[in-house]
């Protein structure tokens, strides 16, 4: 079994070495055997768990900066959807690789994705060495024939992804209650149950989604999903900005995971506020995500942690709301646990996912409080080295092949823009 020794790092304020065997942390201590297959010199670096990006559309990094500062419907209808309609399977792979590169370079080793051409995104994550839940975007627009085709697609992607490593998981990705029929939502729930899969959905992003749901079903979005028997601990619901008290209780009671996406919510002026205090008080897990690059436009989870913490203080009119250590936990240990990934903490026996950060930089000085420095002041460039599943993905800020990944993305973008 391959082994990796990370020497002379700081872990929990103490000097330590970390010995990794295969994809797990074998031991943590001082003076570990020096005969590992590979050694990384960690002098001056601090070991931390990596970040988990719990809601994104990786391939959309190809549309970063393609259309900004526009009203939502115009933005989607005149710019984003026409461009996406031109995406080939290869564009999805190229865009997802660019996203993986940006995430690795900012210390993220896991992403919860939703897009089309799931196999292409899976290939990107697999090749780049990341963990991912590949959510197969599902839209039937209430059309039974399209619904049937999408259900076949789900099974196809599920089978395709079963050939990938254990780092790549599959999820049905019903887009939202207003784009997927109740029949398909019921099917997806049963399908996920049958195969033990998570489900990735957008929920209560805008007020019009709420109003349309009340108009169509006489129920608010989470109530409607509850009426279908859809809610459950395997459901990962992104946004959740316009929730009633009853919906907060429903989501928490059914142990749905809430994914907060602050930058995208502000940039698209989605309105409302993710009710962090009410949700956590009711016992819900709240995770963090960047959303896709066309609505953020950054995949740096350090920035997302800060935005989440600051936005909650503003919304709650209380600077003590969502303190830095909680934001850090949401992006690391809480997220790992929610997805059932045995990482998120650096401990013997756990999966060997970790980052080495270099705090020797002005924005991390003088260094009174690591959590505050990480959440409020650092950005992804403090990450020096990234390890995922026992494999070094970035060493001294170098990711193999990055020039080619960027060049491929530029070529694909020129083609999409000129098509």
């Amino acid at each position: 079994m391959k082994s990796l020794l990370i020497r002379d790092i700081v872990l929990d304020n103490k000097p330590a070495d970390i010995l990794i065997q295969g994809n797990r942390i074998k031991s943590i201590g001082r003076r570990l055997p020096k005969n590992a297959g590979r050694t990384v010199d960690g002098r001056g670096l601090t070991a931390l768990p990596p970040l988990f990006n719990c809601h994104t559309h990786a391939a959309m990094s190809l549309l970063r900066g393609y259309a900004d500062d526009m009203r939502l419907s115009e933005w989607l209808q005149t710019r984003i959807w026409p461009a996406e309609a031109r995406f080939s399977r290869d564009d999805v792979r190229i865009g997802a690789r660019l996203a993986c590169l940006e995430m690795i370079k900012s210390g993220t080793t896991f992403f919860n994705d939703m897009y089309w051409h799931g196999r292409a995104a899976a290939e990107a994550a697999e090749e780049m060495g990341m963990r991912a839940v590949i959510g197969a975007g599902f839209i039937d627009g209430g059309d039974p024939a399209r619904g049937a085709a999408q259900r076949r697609m789900l099974e196809e992607v599920r089978q395709e992804l079963s050939g990938f490593s254990s780092r790549i998981l599959f999820a049905p990705g019903p887009h939202a209650i207003y784009t997927v029929s109740s029949e398909s939502l019921r099917f997806i729930k049963a399908f996920a149950g049958e195969w033990g899969l998570p489900i990735h959905i957008h929920l209560s992003e805008t007020e019009s989604e709420v109003n349309d749901s009340i108009g169509a079903h006489k129920l608010r979005p989470a109530e409607y999903l509850d009426s279908l028997g859809f809610l459950g601990p395997e459901v990962f619901a992104a946004h959740c900005l316009h929730l009633s008290e009853r919906e907060v209780d429903l989501l928490a009671a059914s142990r749905v995971k809430i994914i907060h996406v602050p930058a995208s919510n502000l940039k698209l002026a989605a309105g409302g506020q993710m009710p962090y205090r009410a949700l956590t008080k009711a016992g819900a897990s709240v995770l963090l995500g960047t959303d896709g690059c066309s609505s953020n436009n950054s995949l740096d989870m350090f920035q997302t942690m800060k935005m989440a913490a600051l936005l909650q203080k503003h919304a709650a009119n209380d600077p003590a709301s969502l303190p830095a250590p909680d934001a850090w936990a949401m992006a690391t240990a809480v997220a790992a646990q929610a997805f059932g990934i045995d990482a998120g903490r650096i401990e013997e026996g756990r999966l060997a996912d970790l980052i080495l950060v270099d705090l020797d930089r002005p924005e991390c000085a003088p260094g009174y409080n690591l959590a505050a420095d990480l959440v409020y002041s650092a950005n992804g460039y403090c990450v020096d080295t990234v390890v995922c599943d026992g494999r070094v993905l970035m060493l001294r800020r170098k990711v193999p092949g990055e020039e080619e990944i960027i060049a491929d993305a530029r070529r694909a973008a020129r083609r999409l823009a000129n098509a």
Copy 2:
């Protein structure tokens, strides 16, 4: 006169060389004479104006992470003020140097400061090669004797700073209407007029400031300043979160410069919203600042541009509000003009202040729109090289003496924390 040739950069999408003589841009073109005193190879880099941080308390970088996530009065009274009371003149210089280092490394060459020990902050800016308006913090608490002492302090600091280079300007810094008497505010207005100085003040940061002003003066804060004859084009007012329509009109009509400080406002839950659209519609200049490190905690103006743009979209419920090019202008050309600094644009004859950015990184790919990439996706680490007043302050991300600056800050912080 010393000359500097920056070769083979990209400027406005075209290849160019920039020849600097002394502290001004002498010529921009191709095939400029290669016999300059010093040459910087700009291949692969894009030249842009540097960023202007229009409201900060540089020395407070020594308190980054010292106290966070606390309610405002408790935070000030139990943590920040006692720590600041222990600041020596030397601590101010050490903290301001750390702030200068962080600003240079994120592409900022100008800061509008407010603090005590003005000479110490001026020394830091002078030594680091930045431009600064050193605002001498003025608080009299309504005490005539203290007011008299503070007026003498103003004159002393003014004289001390007159010996510095043209990069260092001086400003009286009356802290706020609730900490400075009306007599002193009138004195400061006259003093600034006599010497042609800007004035730097906090205005309408919290609702209690507004309520206290109404209680004491039967006027809202900007109305009260107007009643003293204080408002004018030389006044730089930070925050401006709780303004009435009448105050918006007053500030715009008197050409007061508004400094928006989004991260600090969110982090301290200051409430309200800087009324960007109303202010700009009324003709006011709105600039951007980070605030001090204890309430942000970052001095990276890239982050501040993004937060400002996103927050306005959210507040106006309109994703078209404060588009990326406007945020970029607020942090560059608009700010330079407001402070009467002949920079903010890269043009022949102007002061030689510029940054070279490296866009060859995943977060700036594929590169459809430079303004959107800079404001929404980049962070200060895209800045490769910084030139201010014809002098290279950072080359290939290296600033001379940075290890020592960080080490000094850590030593000073340990002393302050253990005092």
